[in-house]
């Protein structure tokens, strides 16, 4: 047992619903801990498989302990545990037993629990007691779990849509306006904005999405046959906004560029020339009131790399396979005060019409997708 504290916490959760002297409770907690130990490249799979068989033979009393064991579990373990919950719950219902809905409801209501686990609890409540699920979801428009929140927001959107269809334009607009701040999923935000535009209340979508909009851009640097993706050009060695460097077609300097449109696109074609086999950089400063964990969310169809405060976060050398909002999510840590963001963006040799774009979009959010704006200096 590598982590006795985790084991003891699990055991305590299990003992809350199982007989305190139960060897079964100890066995269950050990099995759960075995599953939570799965790791990369199949690590722990064989042991987890044996543990999973034991867990999946438990009855409904084990559901909440298993859900609790999802707290702090890695993504792989979450899927192992999800499958166990589904197996037990389906078997209980199939054999005519009832699920422990009050306990599942209590678990769901505790927003400190893992969002996936809470959603799973909700889905089984919905199967066992649809009325209870309807009651619960209605108040979840501000839920920290994306899926629960989405469903709650959707219900409000449906109500607004009904008002719109019934010709109650003011009522519809008011409903859409009130639900917009709660929406996090891009498709819901765009649907609400579309409806509000029809109702004469256009929304400034770029502000809703919260794009990082003020950038300084430099390029083009020569990148023959994609070699620039790995090549270290001067901006990667240190930012000097007054510097001048040798570019592909002469000297290059930093230029100010504003993200454009609802989708916050930072276009390098304009400042750097619509060229092929080139690399460029975009630099932004972001002020945070306090240090905090964030996500940098990038959309880009060119090859790219991102650094936050000089620390490399991720890069990807794929070209022109598509772009969407929040295509890539990178965990980062903002420090209090000024932070720096550097994006490297490369253009390849393709010449088809659909390969002209040399652009990206970036925003900073929490893990739910709530945009975080730069604080005033």
């Amino acid at each position: 047992m590598k982590c006795p504290i985790a084991f003891l916490l699990l055991l305590a959760a299990i003992l809350a619903v199982m007989p305190p002297n139960s060897a079964a409770a100890t066995a269950l907690s050990r099995s759960l801990e075995t599953i939570r130990a799965v790791g990369p490249e199949g690590k722990g799979n064989a042991a987890a498989s044996e543990a999973w068989k034991k867990i999946s033979n438990e009855n409904g009393k084990a559901l909440v302990p298993i859900l609790k064991s999802m707290n702090g579990a890695n993504d792989l373990a979450l899927n192992w545990l999800r499958a166990a919950v589904d197996t037990i719950a389906a078997q209980e219902l199939k054999s005519g037993k009832s699920l422990p809905v009050p306990a599942l409801e209590a678990f769901l209501k505790d927003t400190q629990n893992n969002p996936q686990a809470r959603r799973l609890a909700y889905e089984w409540i919905a199967r066992a007691n649809p009325a209870a699920a309807e009651r619960l979801i209605a108040g979840m428009t501000d839920d920290p779990g994306r899926e629960l929140r989405r469903d709650a927001v959707q219900r409000k959107m449906d109500e607004a849509m009904s008002a719109h269809k019934a010709g109650r334009s003011n009522d519809a607009a008011m409903r859409f306006q009130s639900i917009l701040p709660a929406a996090r999923d891009v498709d819901q935000v765009e649907t609400i904005a579309r409806q509000l535009k029809q109702l004469g209340q256009p929304v400034e979508l770029a502000r809703v999405f919260g794009w990082v909009s003020e950038w300084k851009v430099i390029g083009p640097f020569d990148s023959p046959k994609g070699a620039g993706f790995d090549k270290v050009y001067p901006p990667e060695q240190g930012i000097d906004l007054n510097a001048e460097y040798d570019g592909k077609n002469g000297k290059v300097r930093w230029q100010e560029v504003q993200a454009r449109g609802d989708r916050g696109l930072v276009d390098l074609n304009k400042p750097c020339g619509a060229l092929k086999e080139v690399a460029g950089y975009a630099y932004a400063e972001f002020n945070a009131e306090t240090a905090r964990a964030v996500e940098l969310r990038l959309g880009c169809k060119n090859a790219w790399k991102v650094w936050l405060n000089g620390k490399f976060l991720f890069g990807r050398d794929e070209y022109h396979r598509g772009m969407e909002i929040d295509q890539y999510r990178m965990a980062g840590a903002l420090k209090s005060g000024q932070n720096t963001i550097l994006v490297k963006i490369c253009q390849n040799e393709q010449v088809e019409d659909w390969t002209k774009e040399w652009e990206f979009q970036l925003r900073i959010t929490d893990s739910l997708g709530s945009p975080i704006a730069s604080a005033k200096k």
């Binding site: 990369p40 490249e41 199949g42 799979n45 064989a46 987890a48 498989s49 999973w52 068989k53 999946s56 993504d75 792989l76 979450l78 899927n79 192992w80 999800r82 499958a83 166990a84 589904d86 197996t87 389906a90 996936q116 899926e147 989405r150 999923d185 498709d187 169809k301 991720f314 990807r316 050398d317 794929e318 070209y319 396979r321 598509g322 772009m323 969407e324 295509q327 890539y328």
Partner: protein
């Protein structure tokens, strides 16, 4: 149609039974089976059952015994992954398992996260998704292992979507995760999911699937196709035995029939593997046998290719000579499947056309409009064709 040597070899290397359809394009990976009970015309009265599916998918159903396995994805980001087992008899659900995608789920609208077809060795079902989540379940739905290949290899993805199906042989599950960036193919232990080998592959998008090549007196080879050509590897070790480097398609896959490999390369190129890992002998090449999205089918010593527009071309498998062409109602993404002398071709609009290939210029003998977009290759098992769309799964058999 006689059971070929290749089919026999596959029957003994894994434990699925005659009548099973355990992987993409069936037991031999070429879309052809011997199933005399399958009707040679399919019309509305042949729909034995149709059931709703909980999510999208282009993967084919696979059938083991009386169980039909289907994968789907659902949710606004298509990040809820489903593996479902139905009873073949009546379409009732035996079990369903759901997983959360741990890799990227972005894909082109025309494809889906559940694009790759699962595979089975008769004891286990292996399902992979475009997010590179790979799960192994037993036939009762018990979870044996799972992998998140994008967690392991973070740049292994394709923003248009991944679609390579799985192949299993000799206790090894072969998964092609080939793309513009972190491109590889791996052989995983079927019991634990741990890598037995991992092979760096060309950095280029690739939607083809591995096929298993069995030649007389030779061990089974895994055929990996890419834009560069073909690599033949030992399934147990990942060791490359030979390569064909004259390029190949990245969408339709190669087809094996009677130990000959029909590669979508410069039209179709027929390769005959030689002994002891020597590079294969090129038997013929025909630019007139050029497949579109659908892979070629080799039936009764004839090669059939289908282009996107719906032109079915028949060629002589011995020398590549074009024999005839028949315009079907297209467009097509799904690969035809076949038994006896009939091809079962479903177009993107859901029109299932059965073609009698023995008539002199080919002949469409029946049409069945399933009225939904279908991009998935059908499956055949025990007198029935199984077809799925984004929303439905049908069983078509004797009325």
């Amino acid at each position: 149609m006689k059971t070929t040597l290749a089919q026999f070899a596959l029957f003994v290397s894994v434990s699925f039974a005659a009548g099973d359809w355990p992987q993409f394009r069936g037991p031999s990976g070429n879309g052809v089976v011997n199933d005399p009970a399958l009707p040679t015309t399919l019309e509305a009265q042949n729909i034995q059952w149709a059931i709703d599916l909980p999510g999208r998918g282009l993967s084919s159903p696979i059938i083991i015994g009386d169980r039909v396995f289907v994968t789907c994805s659902s949710g606004p980001k298509q990040d809820r992954l489903h593996v479902i087992c139905f009873n073949a008899k009546d379409g009732t659900k035996r079990w369903e398992r759901q997983f959360a995608a741990t890799g990227r789920t972005m894909s082109h609208d025309k494809t889906a996260v559940a694009a790759p077809t699962p595979a089975s060795d008769g004891e286990r079902v292996f399902a992979i998704f475009s997010s590179n989540d790979l799960v192994c379940l037993d036939l009762e739905g018990n979870l044996i292992w799972l992998r998140g290949l994008t967690l392991d290899y973070p740049n292994a993805s394709n923003s248009l979507g991944m679609s390579s199906s799985l192949a299993v042989t000799d206790g090894v599950l072969i998964t092609m995760v080939e793309n513009d960036s972190e491109s590889f193919t791996a052989g995983l232990d079927v019991k634990t999911g741990v890598n037995r080998w991992k092979l760096d592959r060309p950095k280029m998008a690739n939607w083809t699937s591995p096929v298993l090549l069995q030649s007389p007196g030779q061990p089974t080879l895994a055929i990996l196709q890419s834009g560069k050509g073909i690599s033949a590897v030992e399934p147990k070790t990942g060791r490359t035995l030979w390569q064909y480097t004259n390029g190949a398609s990245t969408i339709p896959s190669s087809t094996v029939s009677d130990g000959v490999l029909f590669v979508p390369s410069h039209g179709t190129t027929a390769l005959e593997p030689l002994r002891d890992g020597q590079p294969p002998k090129q038997l013929w090449r025909s630019a007139q046998l050029k497949p579109g999205t659908a892979s070629a089918v080799v039936l009764n010593r004839r090669v059939f290719t289908l282009n996107e527009a719906g032109v079915l071309t028949a060629g002589d498998a011995a020398d590549g000579t074009r024999l005839w062409q028949l315009r079907l109602k297209g467009p097509f993404s799904a690969t035809p499947v076949a038994t006896g002398s009939h091809l079962y071709c479903v177009n993107e609009k859901g029109l299932l056309q059965v073609v009698d290939t023995e008539s002199s210029q080919g002949n469409v003998v029946s049409e069945l409009d399933l009225k939904q977009t279908i991009l998935s290759t059908p499956s055949i098992s025990r007198g029935a064709v199984y077809v799925r769309s984004d929303g439905k799964l049908w069983k078509l058999g004797k009325s």
